[in-house]
C-alpha cells in the first residue's frame, strides 16, 4: 500500500528517508539514548546548581529559584508551537506522514509545558505579588497559548480519520501561528493601558552570571528533554499508524 511517488526527484534524498516512518523509527531509536543521557545530566546538574549554589535574589529571596524552571518551560512552550505549525505545514504541502505525526506529538507536549509555565508563574506570583493570578500581559498570552494547544488537541481527538485530523489541525496550527504575534502584541498593549507598572516583566534584570548560567544549563536541558519526549511520542505514533505493516508485525513478534 505504501507508494513512493518517484516523479518528485528534485527533492534531496534525506527528505524521502525522513518521509519513511520506518527509517524515522530506526533513527530515533539510535538518537534516543544519547539525548536521554544528555537531558538527564543537564537537568540534574542544572537543578542542583539552581537550588543549592545560585544566589538568592536580594528582593525576592529564595522564591527566585523558581525562575530555573519557569523560564525554560515558557520558552519551550513557545518554540514547540512553532515546531508544530512548521511540521503541520510540511505535512499539508508535501503530504509527508512523518511530519503529520511530529505535529501531533508536539501538541500534548507543548500544552503540558505551557501548563508548567503557568503553574510555576502562578506559584511564583503568590509570594512576589501576593496573588495567584493577575491579568498581566505575559500571563494572559501564555494562557491563550495554552488554549491554542488545547484547541489543536481537541480537534485532533474529535476527528477519527488520521489523515483528515492531521490536515485539519495543520490548518488550525498555521492560522494560530499567524495570530501569535498579533496576540502577543495586543495583550501587551492592552496591559500597558490598564495595568499599573508594578508587575512589569519585560525589563530584563541585569543578572550576575552565577544566576543566569544555571538558567542557561536548564534551558538547554529542557530542549534536550523536549527532544526525548518528542521522539518517544513520535515512535508511539509511528507504531500506531503502521501497526498493520509487515515491519511492525515483525517487531511485535520479535519481542
Amino acid at each position: 500500500m505504501a507508494k513512493n511517488k518517484t516523479d518528485k526527484n528534485w527533492m534531496p534524498r534525506w527528505f524521502y528517508q525522513l518521509a519513511s516512518p520506518r527509517w524515522c523509527y530506526d533513527i530515533t531509536g539510535k538518537l534516543l539514548p544519547a539525548f536521554s543521557v544528555l537531558a538527564l545530566l543537564l537537568l540534574l546538574g542544572g537543578t542542583v546548581w539552581a537550588l543549592l549554589f545560585a544566589p538568592a535574589d536580594y528582593q525576592q529571596g529564595n522564591s527566585f529559584r523558581i525562575i530555573y524552571i519557569h523560564v525554560p518551560s515558557a520558552i519551550l512552550a513557545q518554540s514547540c508551537y512553532m515546531m508544530m505549525a512548521l511540521a503541520g505545514a510540511i505535512g499539508l504541502i508535501w503530504k509527508m506522514k512523518v511530519a503529520d505525526m511530529v505535529a501531533k506529538a508536539c501538541a500534548p507536549l507543548g500544552a503540558s509545558l505551557a501548563l508548567l509555565a503557568l503553574a510555576t508563574g502562578a506559584i511564583w506570583g503568590k509570594p512576589t505579588w501576593g496573588s495567584w493570578w493577575v491579568w498581566d500581559a505575559r500571563l494572559t498570552s501564555m494562557l491563550i497559548l495554552l488554549f491554542l494547544y488545547l484547541g489543536v488537541m481537541a480537534l485532533h481527538s474529535a476527528i477519527e480519520n488520521d489523515t483528515t485530523a492531521a490536515q485539519s489541525t495543520a490548518v488550525l496550527a498555521l492560522v494560530g501561528l499567524v495570530n501569535i504575534p498579533i496576540i502577543k502584541y495586543s495583550v501587551e498593549w492592552w496591559n500597558t493601558l490598564h495595568q499599573p507598572a508594578t508587575f512589569k516583566l519585560t525589563e530584563k534584570p541585569t543578572m550576575p552570571p552565577e544566576m543566569w548560567l544555571p538558567l542557561l544549563v536548564m534551558v538547554v536541558g529542557f530542549y534536550c528533554f523536549f527532544a526525548v519526549s518528542l521522539m518517544l511520542r513520535l515512535r508511539h505514533e509511528i507504531l500506531r499508524r503502521e501497526r498493520r505493516s509487515s515491519w511492525v508485525q515483525a517487531l511485535v513478534e520479535s519481542r
Binding site: 484547541g151 483528515t164 485539519s168
Partner: protein
Amino acid sequence: MSEIATNEPAKARGPSAVGVFRAALKRDLLLAFRSKSDLLNPLIFFLMVATLFPLGVSPEPGFLALLAPGLVWVAALLATLLSMDSLFRADFEDGTLEQALLSPQPLILIVLARVLAHWIMTGLPLTLMAPLLGLMLFLPADGMGGLMLSLLLGTPTLSLIGAIGAALTVGLRKGGVLISLLVLPLYIPVLIFGSGAVQAAVTGLPLAGYLALLGAMLALGVVLAPLAIGAALRISVSG
C-alpha cells in the same frame, strides 16, 4: 428569487466570477431571510445581555457605564461565536456543500460570499444596534462613535476567523464547543483592540491607532481567511 435563476447568462464562462459571488450572496441572504429568526438572532442576544446584566449584576448607572464598553464587545463576540457553528453545517448536512465543492467556480468566492452574508446578518445589525445597547447600559454619549466604528471594523474579522473554525468542525458530530475552543484564542486581539477603542473614545483619547489596527487585522483576514476556510472545507468533506 427568480433573479438567482437568471443572473447567469447561459453558456457564459469568462467573467462569471462576479456573477457567482453575487448569486452566492443572494442565495445566502435569501436563506437567512427565509428562516427569519436568523435575522433576529444577534438582536435578541444583545437585548438579552442588556437586560440580564442590570438584573443580575447591579442596576446602578455608574457601575453599568464602567461596564458598558467591554460588555458590548463581549456580547458582540459571543453572539458571533454562537452563530458560527451553523455557518456551514446545514449545507454540509443536506449536501449543498458537496455540490459547491464540486463546482468549477472558485471556492474562495463562494466562501467569501457566505462570510459576507453572515456578517450582514449578524455583525451589521449588531453594529447598528450597539447605540441602543450603549444607551441601556448608560454608556457616555462620547463613546458611541467609537463603539460603532470599532464594531464596524471588528465584527467582519470575527466572522472571518469564526468561519475557519466552522469549516474545520463541519464534518464532526458536535462542533458547537469545539469551535469556541478553536476560535476564542484568535478572537482575543479583536476584543482587546475593540474594547480599547471604545474605552479610548469614552475617555477622549485618540482612537485612530486602534481603528487602524482593527482595519489591518480585517485586511489580513480578508486575504488569508478564505484560503484557510476553503482548504478546511475540502479537508472536512473528504474525511
